[in-house]
Each structure stands twice: as structure tokens, then as C-alpha cells.
Amino acid sequence: MMKIYIPRDAAARAMGADAVVAAMQAELTRRGMDAQIVRNGSRGMVWLEPLVEVEKDGERLAYGPASPKDVAAILDGNSDKAVGRVEDIPFFAKQTRLTFARCGLIDPLSVAEYEAHGGLKGLRRALGMTQEQITKETTDSGLRGRGGAGFPTGIKWDTVRKAAGPKKYIVCNADEGDSGTFADRMIMEGDPLSLIEGMVIAAIGVGADKGYVYLRSEYPDAIEVMNLAVDAARKAGVLGKSVLGSAHAFDMEIRVGAGAYVCGEETSLLNSLEGKRGVVRAKPPLPALEGFLGKPTVVNNVISLATIPVIFERGAQFYKDFGLGRSRGTIPVQIAGNVKHGGLFETAFGMTLGQLVDDIAGGTAKGRPVKAVQVGGPLGAYFPRSKFDTPFGYEEFDGQGGLIGHAGVVLFDDTTDMLGMARFAMEFCAVESCGKCTPCRIGAVRGVETVDRIAAGDATAIPLLKDLCETMKDGSLCALGGFTPYPVMSALTHFPDDFAAAKEAAE
């Protein structure tokens, strides 16, 4: 039977996928055609959304961006929106899809299709391993926390494994609040079972029987899909009292956040999950030893956990063979902002920023010059073109005064006012500060005022801003106050004209 894929991914829906589905259903009925519409995840090429794929006689052809008026021609096979096979589109063909291999390819809620595409193989292998072997396999893969901190996942797991039980937890950080990032959302909407499988493997490895996904309320579509996927996994015996018939019990819940950016920080996330104000906790104790409700807890990002199945399916060495330096494996780069070809691009670490911006993304939407690129969300540095030869890797970006964070890459064209962006970074920090530590709570407010003084032409405020950033960086309890200086200082350092021009205008 003919299958028609129309994504249920939020980006596709935001571009009108639901209207295309309605039109397609009406057209199929009108023609009396027997075809199945599958709501898949996104293939990651957002400029082509909604991307309709028609699978007939073993061939799967894509059309995008599709609108309701295109459906008749798509069914006739003569639509001018035809883009051929997804695998042949350069943006897709240049990727190495490991974590996102199934995303957009299968029905996200079908356990059978998940298995047919390699799913659950990793879990079955893990069930035959000891806890020590599981944490060692994870360490050997070289996987580091994809939330941004880059801490080795296997070492975190091993700390939890060795901690005193019996009660331990797996908590998935799905509070993907960084601007320019949507990899967590895409995998949860497009291949949620990979996240679930990763959490089950983590649980078996450390001896946990309960897991939580803390999912931000700004992602209503992901919340819906994850809840349905948990139900499907329970029915298939992946979750429950006996995981795939083994002696291991594991179940999980989806918990919805409430709009606080700081809850992406792991200790404030744990407080929020416990039903408290999402204020940051001082470390130590590490969450690995005293986490949710004071019990040993693995807190991992969505992408870290969703990558675990492929590592266990193909082996640690297979994964480790990709990458650069101490950054092993692949990273789903999210290309966003003012961009011609935006979307998700999974690649081995090592590609330069310039390749991503110019070759893969094709520059800005309307072809204006790229002025700056912010990598790593609102706490990441603005990189000028002179730094575009920086290879994508944790240490490499750190060495250039930046961070890769959750691997969001946001393009800005030459009309951007960098002083305005620096001011926004401080304003955002002031809005979202949890209030626990003074450098962040007060510093961010003073930061906005100081940038405003510079904008009004007061050059004496520039050293003050530098000094304030130094204090916030060294004195804040977590990355919110500690990293806000990255965008502020990089804007000031690399784009001094935007700060000086304000001064001249005032004189």
C-alpha cells in the first residue's frame, strides 16, 4: 500500500503540516485511493517543511515545502515541489546520522518499526552485560554530556552505580531552553523510543528502577508524543516490572516544567522535579550521590541518552572512531536564526564553523553577509568571521573563548546591533536568574544599566562592564550567571565598532 509521510514535528506543524494532512486526506477520499498517512518526525531540513514523502513500489520521494494546494500534483507525481530522495539532498547526504538515524524515517510511535530499524538491539545486548560492563562500554565510547557541559557520561554513570542504593533514579534533562537549539525536541517528536531505550539501559547499568523526563512546557507537541511513546513502550514490555522479560524493573514518567530557563541547570531541575522553587543547589554533593529526593541520580541530556542505543547496538569502538581530539562521536548541530538552509545537521566532531555556516547552511536567508554566529545558546559567545576556522569540538571552542553548549548555531546578518545583543544577554539573565547568588541576581540588572550607559555614549562604563563580567564569571553559582559574560564580552571584544558608534552618535 502507498504510504504518505507528513511530519508531526513542531517545526513542520508551525509551517502548516496539519493543513496539508487534511488536504491530503480529502484528496485521497475524493480519488478513492487506498493510502496510509504516517505522521513521522522531521528529516531536519526545516526550510523544506512541511516535507511530504510518498512511498510507492519501494521508492520514497519527497516534496517540499508542501502546501494544501500541492497535494493533487504530489499524488500525480508531477508536483513542482519535488526534491527527489531525501538521502540525495546535499544537506542530508553530507551528514553522519547515528543518533538521528531513525528520526523522520519511521512512525515515531511504532515499536515494531523501531525494532525493524535497529531499535532495542542495544538494550538486548545490555541485558546480557553486568552493570560494570555497561558503564565501561559507555565510558569507552567517549560520549560526553550533550547538554553542554561535556562531562563523560560513563564516568557519571559509574559514580551512580557505585553509590549506595537501593533507590536510584534516571532523570532526563529535556529542558532545552537554549535559543537556537531543537535537537531534543526533534528526537522526542521523531524517535522518542530511542530516548526511552537509552534511559532503560542507563537504569540497568546503575541499578535504578524509576526515571523522569523533565520536559519544558514550551514544547506541547513533544510532551504529547513522549507520553504516547511511554504508553507504547509499556505495552511492548520495554518498560514495566520486567524489561523485555528480564529481572530488571524500570518505569518512567514525563514531567512538565513551568517556564523557568534556569531549570535546565541540573540541580535546579531536581528541585523543580521535587516540587520546589527551581533554585540552584550548591555542589557538592553531586546529584550522582545525592540527587532527586536525596538519592543517587543520573541526570543526562536527551541527546546523551538517545545516543546510548546506537552505542550499544554498534559497540563503543564504532562510535569512538568518529570525532576529533577528545570530542568523540557525532554531534547534532542545529543551524538556526537568519539562515538559508536551517535545520538539524548531525556530523562527526571536527567540521569547522565556517563550513557549517557557508557550505552547509548557505549563509543568511536573503544572502546578506554573516556578521556573527552565536554558538551554544544564550550563554554562548558571538563568533566573528575571523574565528570561522574553529573546528567543532569541546576543547577547540573553549580555546577560542567560546563553548559548543548544546550545539546550536545561530546566524546573524550585517544589520545586527551587537550592543543590543549584549544588552539582551544581560536582560535575559536578569529575567531568568533564580536569585540564589548575588553576582547573577544583581549583576545582570547592573549589566543592563551599564550597557545602556555605553549606548548613551558613556565610554567610562566599558571598563565597568568588563569588571562586572569578571565578577559574574568567577562568582556565580551556575552557568546562567557564570556564562552570561560570554555573549556580552565576545560582542564587546569582536565588534567594538557597535559600542563605539553609540558613543559617537551621542557626542
Partner: protein, 159 residues
Amino acid sequence: MSAAALSAEAIAPRLNEILDDCMVLEGPLLPILHAVQAEYGHVPQTALPQIADRLNVTRAEVHGVMSFYHDFRQEPAGAHVVKLCRAEACQAIGANRVAAHAKKALGVEWGGTTKDGTVTLEPVYCLGLCACGPAALVDGQVVGWVDEKKFDAIVGDLK
């Protein structure tokens, strides 16, 4: 909803059901507040004593939690809620311009509700629609590529 309809006595039975459902959870307060807001459109202050009582914490603690999070409202919103993304990726592609237009067109500031009570305008910091911005969330439905014209069309449909 009238003040009487939201008196502590009036909401007690339904609130009791919500509490029964949520108390089996570990760390139940956020799920409780979400459920109360889903029921009443905001978290009535009259609900706090009963929640505090069941959780065996003070009313101040419950208030402290609900006031920490941007999502929980103390007052009802307008009939429709339009959230516009203010984050960097959307700013890069014109979100500030659209926001200025939206405020002017509706005659409100961030968090404000139009005089006729139809639309509440709120900022949101990232909807994960960063490659099809400026992005918006209209009564929970995602919308991409929101320019001034599309914004006017969205609001026109709501009214």
C-alpha cells in the same frame, strides 16, 4: 468566572480530586499547579491553603513555588494567549520588529491583555522553532515565520 465561583468552598471538591490524583506522585506540587491552572485558567489564591494543607507545607511555600515559575498565573488571562518568541535566533530574523508591531496593534505591553479581553500577549524564550522564526505559540499551537502580516491574520482569526 465570578469570585464566588472561585471561593475556597466552591473549588474544594474539584481541588480535592486533583490532589488525590497527584499525591501518588513523587514531588507532586508542579503537577498539582498545572492541573489547577488547566481547570481554572489560572491558580486561584483561594486554592493555596488546601494545597498547602495536603502537602503539609506552609501556604507561603506554595505561593513561593507558584510565583517562581513564569507559567503559573495569579489572574486569569484573556480568552486567547499569544506568545511571541523573544530569544536570539528569532531576533536574528526580525522578532523585535514583529514584537513592536504586536504591542502597537494590540495596544498592550508584554503580559498585557487587550481591553476587550480577547488576547493576552506574552513573551516566550524559545519554542525550539529556531530555523523557522520568528516563532509564536497561539493557544498552544505552534506557528512559524510570523511577520507583521501573519500576526495580524492570527489575531484577526481570534477575534
